[in-house]
């Protein structure tokens, strides 16, 4: 894997290596289950799970160390489609997808499901409009494409700016998530958890750059998908919902609708800070405005997917254009495995809590019994859950059961009475999800700054060694900054994630798409598109976030709906009133559109 071992190439042994790894992880899981039976504490199992998995990632990071530019920036362009698909899926599925998605579906109903459609359908755009062409281009970073396609440092700089803002917004949320998980599993304060998480993240990415991140992300995907699927399937079998619940939970959804009508969805008499009661129907689309909110959210998330640099740069690492396309298909398949499980999880967990016919029910039961449940006590102790008999009738009502949305996944094994080893597994999965995304994002930011800002703009004469040292220093600096901000805990996990998508699509979507699909697009147009779109989106975000009036019911989660049209209009108008790109640039676009032949940029640049 490292530069020294050139005997048999690591990429030729991938199947064997990751096969053994997967079996090893399952073996570790079995071992932990035995250790639990022998009487080990839940705490110890949680700690072992985290330390064992992070030690493996760090080892991979160490073995992937490199001093070659193309290995550092694009993993040597030798990642096969199947593995790049797994790495992208881990890159993509953040702490938010893993931890908060099912909780969001649980509480958010139809409008929230816009995230599910948006975060999967975006890959159709990635495949149709972006990935194969960017791979043909041969860039190291997304601003590298913008800078070369449109020419000039200003265009490159604008792209770097949008990239940094979008990715930084996202990465703080991920480091926050690693901190939350580490804090709970290791029983350390959140502030320490954040630094512990950052250390793990840097161990994966600093020495090997994209190569290190790629091979750790594959390992992280394997952990996270096992950690997501095993509890759901186990729970389903333990509670009698079927062997594989995914295709049979329709009845559960219908039953929930009945129960919701019976209990009534009413706000709590007295709210509890930071916690929520269920007030939105499981699935009850109203049409009209409700549908509008759904599709606008989905559109922002899809366009954001197709413009987020940490995702696009994964497709620079495949050996060919065809492999790049193929790996988009694998990416979405691996993502799909989690995304079609999340609604099943949310539905079955909700049914277990709501249906008085089930032993696990909480709502409709006597308050004294509920308060004595172990899992209720555990989560109440950390302030993430609360059951209060506000109407004093001795029975828990639907609006007396308070919960923090993002504990749904973490608490499911406990609700269903599964052994603690499952909770340890889930913690390791959440950690893998948050770490892998944070790695991709930090690398995207540091690479844009080191390659585009430092090497291309500030010091084009820098030698390889210097470039790679600068890249690593930046990686650490940005990681530390992100951890500092994360430790301030400014936003909930999901708010910041949606913002990152909106920043990215406001500033980058049209300059990227039109750079390939519209030959007439030129430098002034692209610059106008990036600046106007990004500025309009940002101003609107600040406006609505501070309580300003909403335009067409577009809230702060969807500000890309303002940024994108502004960007499109600005780019088209400015392109048309200024001179057409010269023949050389037009030929470059033509060349980008065919899969054969040399990349536009040299193999190493």
């Amino acid at each position: 894997m490292s530069d020294q071992t050139q005997g048999t190439r690591f990429v030729d042994r991938l199947g064997k290596v990751y096969g053994i790894y997967t079996l090893g992880f399952l073996g570790f899981f079995a071992l932990m289950a035995i250790v639990e039976q022998l009487g080990a504490s839940a705490q110890l199992i949680g700690i072992l799970f985290l330390l064992f998995t992070i030690a493996i990632y760090a080892t991979i990071g160490w073995l992937s160390r490199t001093m070659q530019v193309d290995a550092y920036y694009v993993a040597g362009r030798e990642v096969p489609a199947f593995y790049n698909g797994m790495a992208t899926a881990a890159d993509w599925m953040s702490g938010a997808s893993f931890v908060a998605l099912a909780g969001g579906i649980y509480f958010g109903g139809y409008p929230y499901l816009g995230f599910v459609i948006g975060w999967t359908g975006g890959y159709v755009l990635v495949n149709a409009l972006m990935a194969p062409y960017l791979r043909k281009f041969g860039c190291y970073t997304v601003p590298d494409f913008i800078g070369t396609r449109y020419g000039g440092n200003l265009a490159r700089l604008c792209a770097v700016l949008v990239l940094v803002v979008a990715s930084f917004t996202y990465v703080t949320a991920q480091i926050n998530a690693t901190g939350t998980i580490a804090a709970r599993a290791l029983a350390i304060p959140f502030e320490f958890g954040v630094w512990f998480g950052l250390l793990g993240i840097l161990l994966c990415s600093m020495l090997g750059g994209m190569r290190g991140v790629t091979w750790t992300q594959v390992a992280q995907y394997i952990v996270l998908i096992i950690a997501y699927l095993v509890p759901v399937i186990w729970m389903s079998n333990a509670q009698g919902f079927g062997i594989i619940p995914h295709f049979t939970y329709g009845d559960a959804a219908l039953r929930i609708a009945e129960l919701e009508a019976e209990y009534g969805l009413v706000a709590a008499a007295q709210s509890v800070a930071g916690l929520k009661v269920l007030t939105t129907a499981h699935f009850d689309p109203q049409g009209g405005l409700d549908s509008w909110k759904f599709v606008t959210l989905a559109l922002c998330m899809m366009a954001g997917t197709a413009s987020l640099p940490h995702i696009l740069m994964r497709y620079f690492t495949t050996p060919s254009v065809r492999q790049a396309r193929k790996s988009v298909g694998w990416s979405l398949f691996f993502i799909f495995l989690l995304y079609f499980t999340a609604p099943a999880l949310a539905t079955l967990t909700k049914l277990q809590l709501l249906d008085p016919n089930l032993a696990t029910a909480v709502v409709g039961k006597a308050i004294d019994d509920v308060s004595n449940l172990e899992w209720i006590q555990n989560w109440t102790a950390v302030g993430m859950l609360s059951v209060v008999d506000q109407n004093g009738d001795g029975i828990v009502q639907l609006n007396e059961f308070f919960m923090r949305p993002d504990i749904v996944v973490l608490a499911t094994p406990e609700i269903a009475g599964l052994p603690y080893v499952i909770s340890g597994l889930v913690a390791a999965g959440g950690m893998a999800a948050a770490m892998s995304t944070a790695d991709g994002l930090l690398l995207a930011i540091a690479n844009a700054l080191s390659h585009d800002l430092y090497y291309k703009i500030i010091d084009p004469k820098a030698d390889t060694k210097r470039r790679l040292i600068v890249a690593r220093v930046l990686l650490v600096v940005i990681g530390v900054l992100a951890a500092l901000i994360a430790s301030l805990q400014l936003t909930g996990i999901l708010g910041a994630v949606a913002w990152a998508f909106c920043f990215a699509c406001s500033g980058l979507f049209f300059p990227l798409v039109l750079g390939i699909w519209w030959k007439r697009a030129n430098r002034p147009g692209a610059i106008a598109g990036m600046i106007a779109g990004f500025a309009a989106g940002t101003i609107y975000l600040i406006h609505v976030y501070n309580g300003g009036d909403q335009l067409w019911s577009i809230d702060h989660l969807r500000f890309g709906m303002i940024g994108m049209p502004v960007s499109l209009v600005a780019m088209v108008v400015v392109s048309l009133v200024t001179e057409a790109p010269d023949a050389e640039m037009q030929a470059m676009v033509d060349e980008t559109r065919v899969p054969t032949g040399k990349t536009i940029l040299a193999e190493t640049h």
Binding site: Y110, L113, G114, V116, I117, T120, G121, Y123, V124, L125, N127, A128, L129, P132, H246, F247, T248, Y249, G250, D251, A253, L254, F283, P285, Q286, G287, D290, S291, F294, V295, A298, L299, M302, S320, V321, R322, Q323, R325, K326, V328, G329, L332, F333, F336, Y339, F340, P343, A344, D590, R593, V594, P595, T596, G597
Partner: protein, 84 residues
């Protein structure tokens, strides 16, 4: 590799892409938009509108990418522009 060949390749590629985007629009936006109306129907015991959003459209997206790539590979090969 002739200029005409490249033009043909791009014309076919664009046409395929437009079809893909049309299907994407249908499953990503049109069906979810009319989820309330679709809910009258039922599939595998799920209300249809709900099914499409939590599963149906997702499956279509995966198949759409696979199908797109299959046809795109054919176009590339027909025009002698495949890179593998």
């Amino acid at each position: 590799m002739s200029q005409d060949n490249r033009r043909l390749h791009w014309a076919k590629t664009s046409r395929l892409t437009y079809w893909v985007l049309a299907i994407w629009l249908l499953f990503g936006y049109v069906f979810p938009f009319f989820a309330k109306d679709l809910d009258g129907g039922s599939f595998l015991g799920f209300p249809l509108g709900y099914y499409m959003i939590v599963q149906g459209s997702l499956i279509v997206f995966v198949l759409l990418i696979v199908g797109h790539n299959f046809l795109q590979d054919r176009i590339d090969e027909e025009c002698g522009l495949s890179d593998e």
